[in-house]
Amino acid sequence: MTIGIPKALIYWKQPLFWESFFSGLGFEILLSPATNKEIVDIGVRVADPENCFSTKVFFGHLLWLDGKCDWIFVPRLKTNEEKLEYCPKFFGLPDLAKLLAKTPILTETFDERKEKFGRTLEKLGKKLNKNKKEIKNALEAALRERKNEGQDFFKKIQSKKPKIILISHPYNLYDDYVNLKMKEKLEKLGIDPVFIDEVPNPIRQLADQNENWPKFHWEFGKEIMEKTSEFLKYDVAGVIEISSFQCGCDTVLKEFVEKVVKANRVPFLYLLIDEQTGEAGLQTRLEAFIDTLH
């Protein structure tokens, strides 16, 4: 039995976790390849134009897997362990996936407001005829694969080159096709880029007292704002926020990120990406932005 995992959107929330979990249960894993033009074209063709670019890319990955495996795994992520919500688009993904793909969709609702993560995994395992013990072992093995945050940050932040923090969702930061190789482009311009998720989490109590932003009910809202106030304590030359075109949540979040960054007199650049984004326009903005750093 082979389980297909679309290498897009929620995959990047916990890379390696799901593939090691399912292979721990004895399944073959088929990951869709790195995003390419073909995948984007498929996604754009099937997705309603009102979807954000990242969702369109996800549908491309989904359909690339369609017919190549026995199941395609599309979890319904509702709330995380802090009881904060994921993006509302994630809620409907398994339903839309069922409409689009012929291959059966393997799904379960992860809503930690109502049910512990481990319990939901057990329910998922039951669908695959796996018992509690097998689930527990696979989970423990998979958790070891989770990357440790903050390790590289202190090394990077000491670099002599100007440092730019890239703020976005992991599915934009880690997908080089989607972000048009932003990291490489910045490196060529003499910059050391640091991804927002590399920034260590601040001490919780301090973060809760912050009055510069509201209490977000989105998990990424809280994380990005907390990490933003954290990296601003260091020597940072500039901040670039990347957003998928038509991301509704980002239009709200961006206002607060920009306000906090600019209040610290750190240059800020906001970039929108979609399937039409040209390399030339992006390059011009990056070059001009770097000229504004002093």
């Binding site: 033009k37 995948i39 800020f268 903005r285 070059e287 001009a288 932005f289 000229d291 504004t292």
Partner: protein, 319 residues
């Protein structure tokens, strides 16, 4: 006499400015790109050669604009600079205390915030060209007016009508409707200018702290109706600097002069007579199927670009 050449190749116009060591403009050219940037550069160089003083020698070349890399390759530029930095440089030369620069060109519009003559923040139009010169061009064509007369006509209006300027397509339907219910052409033209200014301020300049002195430049700054529309919307004086339509080329000429290149890469005025061609092919290396562009001078490949992975652009093109 040492001179420095700035070339700004944009979607609508190709501009060349030659300055001397005292920053005096010796010649300036504004040509229509007409969809053929190579030809525009070649025409420009030929014309410049005729205009420039006999004793002038080129001591540095810089390119800017959306075709700056192409222009840099075929002329042998010492400096290739983005148009935002180039425009900021040009504006702060003429108006050293400027705090805001509004630049509207053919397909780009930008706002630049300056502090002590240096750009500290900027924004460009993102996904729509509704606030640019192309928009005005298109509307002028629909009204059968030369775009050059557009601005003067707008000034005659006593009661500018409200035109939705969010999108060129919908602006047309709105305009037709206004004509049908009896608005005069000057009121419609003035309305379009106000709509464009509003669109620029609400979209491109949104969230930017617009402080005087405000400089307005780029091709659209020639339009008197647009100047008035910005003055009205911002309730501030609008300064249009000298050489406003070619100021990007001027700015980049200043930048290369400051850089003072020791070894000049300029390929000479002869390039206007050479056979320069760009061809493209689709790379079959992966599903991305990138369109790779090859630039050739006299059939010799001088540069390649357009590939996402760098496999073609990194190739040593001299081989």
């Amino acid at each position: 006499m040492k001179t420095y050449l700035g070339i700004d190749v944009g979607s609508i116009s190709t501009n060349l400015v030659l300055i001397d060591e005292k920053n005096q403009v010796l010649s300036s050219l504004y040509l229509r790109t007409e969809g053929n940037p190579i030809d525009a550069i070649q025409r420009g160089l030929k014309e410049l050669k005729k205009q420039m003083p006999r004793e002038a020698e080129i001591a540095g070349v810089a390119t800017t604009g959306s075709a700056r890399y192409l222009a840099g390759v075929i002329t042998g530029a010492d400096l290739v600079k983005n148009e935002i930095t180039a425009h900021a440089k040009g504006a702060s030369f003429f108006v050293p205390e400027a705090r805001t620069v509004i630049e509207i060109g053919g397909q780009d519009s930008k706002i630049i915030i300056l502090e002590n003559g240096v750009a500290v923040d900027f924004a460009m139009n993102l996904i729509c060209a509704a606030g640019t010169g192309s928009f005005l061009d298109a509307q002028a064509f629909r009204l059968k007016l030369p775009v050059e007369q557009f601005g003067e006509l707008a000034l005659k209006s006593k009661n500018p009508t409200n035109i939705g300027s969010r999108c060129t397509v919908f602006a047309e339907s709105d305009m037709i409707h206004k004509q049908q219910i009896g608005h005069t052409t000057e009121d419609i033209v003035a309305g379009l200018c106000q709509g464009l200014a509003r669109n620029f301020l609400n979209n491109v300049a949104r969230g930017k702290n617009i402080k005087p002195p405000i400089v307005f430049q780029g091709g659209v700054s020639e339009n008197l109706g647009m100047r008035k529309a910005f003055e009205k919307a911002l309730k501030e004086k609008i300064i249009v600097p000298p050489h406003n339509t070619v100021i990007g080329a001027f700015g980049v000429a200043l930048l290369v002069k400051e850089q003072n290149p020791q070894k000049i890469k300029f390929l000479g005025f002869e390039i206007s007579d050479k056979n320069i061609k760009c061809t493209s092919f689709q790379c079959q290396g992966c599903p991305n199927r990138c369109e790779v562009i090859e630039a050739r001078i006299e059939n010799k490949v001088v540069a390649r670009w357009g590939d996402r992975c760098g496999k073609w652009s990194n190739l040593n093109v001299n081989n």
